[in-house]
Symmetry: C2
Subunit: 274 residues, 2 copies
């Protein structure tokens, strides 16, 4: 159900973007706007968050996107989009849902989600990767990129550790790692669905290897493992294999208490000057 406009304007930017309207048992519509565009496409993270929102309507006792795997078939554009979720398996703890998204007659992306209630699996912590060192929030810098459309960057407050920001000044380190603090610019606190957005909202790690321009995602898989505490998130992206025009970009996100709450790996295409 769309909220009346008076309520919508009181919502955060992120919650407004996630407004979906149910038009059939298995069909939802939403409106994509250039607010969430980056370069010539709508950011994949907001599309992932939208699909998780649609999937959750079908399995309301499992509201969180434990895993999201998908392929981006064509770039999303501003305008209406249709999301068709299908429950593949309804489990007691975890359900599997496929979501197919179409826009203007073309498939945009297709994803397989595992839905769960994260409150049931966050404790005890038997093993965890700890957050790497990062400069204090105030000492970190806003990354700048040259793109046609930077709607997404205005929605995010991303502060990059100066130790990993050389690429923004034309001096990529070649290490293939960027660390940053992240939060939504309007102060909206993180939740499990927004972690899908954060997992795909860092500058491309390929930039730290000397790549420029558009870095399209071939495949993306993210795991959301806990409900994040309020406050700024700490994020790290890095690559473990960059060969030819392809590289994996791995992302980890820790919440303000230092808990690892989400991680992802995407395979990207990249172009290099050399």
């Amino acid at each position: 159900m769309m909220l009346p406009m008076t309520s919508i304007t009181e919502l955060s930017e992120f919650d407004r973007a996630l407004q979906i309207e149910q038009v059939a048992d298995d069909c939802f519509t939403a409106e994509l706007t250039s607010d969430w565009a980056i370069g010539n496409a709508i950011n994949g993270g907001i599309l992932m968050a939208l699909s998780a929102t649609a999937a959750a309507r079908l399995v309301p006792e499992q509201p969180h996107p434990l895993t999201w795997s998908g392929v981006f078939v064509s770039p999303g554009e501003p305008g209406p989009i249709t999301l068709r979720p299908t429950v593949l398996r309804k489990g007691r703890g975890i359900s599997s849902v496929e979501v197919v998204a179409r826009q203007a007659g073309a498939e945009r992306f297709r994803a397989l989600l595992s839905m769960a209630d994260l409150a049931n699996s966050a404790e005890p912590v038997r093993k965890t990767l700890l957050a790497p060192p990062i400069a204090p929030f105030e000492e970190c810098t806003r990354g700048r990129v040259s793109l046609n459309n930077t709607g997404l960057l205005n929605r995010m407050d991303t502060r990059i550790d100066p130790a990993t920001a050389g690429w923004a000044a034309g001096n990529p380190s070649g290490e293939g790692e960027i660390r940053a603090w992240m939060r939504l610019a309007d102060g909206r606190e993180p939740d499990p669905v927004s972690l899908l957005l954060f997992l795909d909202a860092m500058p491309p790690v390929a930039f730290d290897l000397g790549s420029h321009g558009w870095v399209p995602t071939v495949e993306f898989t993210g795991h959301v493992r806990a409900v994040p505490a309020p406050g700024a998130l700490q994020s790290r992206i890095h690559t473990t294999l960059a060969t030819g025009g392809l590289l994996n970009e791995d992302c980890e996100i820790w919440d303000s208490t230092g808990r690892l709450v989400a991680q992802s790996r995407q395979l990207c295409s990249a172009r290099y000057r050399d």
Copy 2:
């Protein structure tokens, strides 16, 4: 097309398992056997390899499974299985294919594959994770597990580094890491499709955290990034986040020349005694 029986018996065990018969433009059948079972289900790796084989028939110029992401909807059993691939996007370099597998009236798994020709993206190597230290092949030990059905284990020649094999003697290290050499028992050399099998054929890393019994996969994503050289593969599995009854299992595989050729992450359920 099924090969006549005289030819089949000359094939390796792995190639025999991957025999598929085309019964319609978008439909293939194969026969699952207990040779590839582990516990009460057919190993996910052989199912992934089968789906990649079916996908490749639709995009023959892109024969390799660059990425494989999927959910296992119900456990595979010995008997015929139907594989339905659909091309979502036909690209010049990379195509996206969905494969839905059904058996005995039930969906078994659903996967999204990116198909490519790996010869086009293996060079140059800009960044790579190096293989960790491992004991020489001759000093590594065959892992033993107590299960009803160990067909898979007889197809694989897996030699575990004694430094990470304590769990097999009842002394899990708690580190959540296992390193091993792997090859097919009948000497069949590795290729890109078989890397999908190897990515899912290690003993569960949960065993090194004190877990016992069945460790079902919630979601699996693997990347195959290069054609492996002949010879034994070096594999490492490890976890970066084990909380409650869930953990991620990350796997990397290096070929005999030390090249990182494949990596994967799966989210698993596990049970612990404590």
